[in-house]
Amino acid sequence: MDEKKKYPFHEKYFKKEWSYVTGSVLLAMLALALVIVTGGSWGVTGPLGMWGGKFLQLIGINADSWKAYNGSLAKYNFWTDQTAITDLGIVLGAFLSVLLATQFKIKKIKSMKNVWAAVLGGLLMGIGARLSLGCNIGAFFTALPAFSLHGWVFWISIFSGAAVGSQLLKKYFM
């Protein structure tokens, strides 16, 4: 309480949470600004497979000769990959946001259940995103508003998946 009175400016502009709808408006505008200037639309998961392939090369597995990569790893450059840059930006933008709000805290793992949830959830997201050619951004937030049917289909599918996931979460991971 006393802090609010002491630093009203910081409280109002850096600490106070924004409404969800503020988020909606800004996300839509930022996504559009990106595609207008670069011609490339917002995505997130595309580069993950490339980073994984680069890692495999690092440990001596020549993934570039696989059909999935087909030589694309040799040409891959993180800084010319628009999606890689925005991905890094999301992590560090969020980091800056919590620091300026003075709310940064390392949130530790509470139990092994959280570790298994991260392992299984991460694997499923990776596989799912590649099969549907995108994630909740690339195959949804950049697809549905672009009048593509696969955005609508992806929404219905992810929604049913989320319903099943909620049941699994309650049963095994909570």
Binding site: E3, E17, Y20, G23, S24, L27, A28, M29, A31, T38, V44, T45, L48, W51, G52, W66, K67, Q82, D87, G89, I90, V91, G93, A94, F95, L96, V98, F104, V115, A117, A118, L120, G121, G122, L124, M125, G126, I127, G128, A129, R130, L131, S132, L133, C135, F141, P145, A146, F147, S148, L149, H150, G151, V153, F154, I156, S157, A162, G165, L169
Partner: protein, 245 residues
């Protein structure tokens, strides 16, 4: 919710920090924040040397992260909460974001296709997949991928953008999740060519609503009409679940 319970546990198990300690901690974070902001600007200059549009892309990325964090925007929660808690606040926010983005893509695309779609299929614009936004193959693979992705996002506690945002917030769980997200992506990339040759699992044709419905007018009516109906439905469901109705 789990976050507040953990803080309660933590404060009881540990000596409560004094107001002085807290003030000191906040000063450290603010100073760190200002230093980080300066470093991010410097990194922007570096990215610009590597990519002619790098600094702009970097700025948008940072703004996306800042916005996602400040507004606690979470696509996973927008699909999980109606089932798990009955709350549809985020679902409604996502629908608003979709409608606003639709407006923008509509303008960008219409400029290229022409109001009557007459430019679509010419040499300048071969098909809809060349348009701004992702107009991509739709089929059984979309359903399978989306379903798997939905399960994963709820279990991991964050979708693609949510995982990245929570990494920045300091969640160790999401730092583990990203490693396996990357591993899963590699598996998915290996699986995709196998799925793509199977005509039952993969349909290569994208379906573009203005083309499917025979023009921009019906596409606009269907797109915004559906979003409106879903918003009304979400609003009604949320109110019913919270006991307001």
């Amino acid at each position: 919710m789990s976050d507040t319970t953990s803080t309660i546990k933590r404060t009881t198990s540990r000596v409560k920090e004094t107001p002085e300690q807290r003030a000191r901690k906040q000063k450290i974070q603010l100073t760190a924040g200002i230093i980080v902001a300066a470093l991010l600007v410097l990194l922007g200059f570096y990215i610009q040397t590597q990519n002619p549009r790098g600094a702009f892309i970097w700025m948008i990325g940072l703004a996306l992260g800042y916005t996602l964090q400040r507004s606690r925007f979470c696509f996973t929660a927008s699909m999980r909460d109606p089932v798990l808690t009955g709350s549809t606040e985020l679902t409604k926010a996502v629908i608003i974001a979709l409608a606003l983005a639709s407006l923008g893509y509509m303008a960008l695309q219409m400029k290229l296709t022409g109001v009557d779609l007459k430019n679509l299929g010419t040499d300048a614009l071969k098909d809809a997949s060349k348009l701004p936004g992702h107009v991509r193959a739709v089929g059984v693979h979309t359903v399978i991928g989306g379903f798997i992705f939905g399960i994963g996002a709820v279990i991991a506690g964050g979708c693609a953008s949510g995982t990245l945002m929570r990494m920045g917030e300091g969640f160790i769980q999401q730092w583990i999740a990203i490693i396996f997200f990357i591993a899963g992506s590699v598996i998915g990339m290996v699986l995709l060519p196998i799925v793509q040759v199977n005509p039952i699992l993969y349909q290569a044709k994208p379906i573009y609503l203005p083309q499917l419905l025979g023009g921009w007018v019906p596409a606009i009516i269907v797109q915004f009409g559906l979003l409106f109906v879903l918003y009304v439905l979400a609003d009604w469901y949320g109110k019913k679940k919270s006991g307001e109705l």
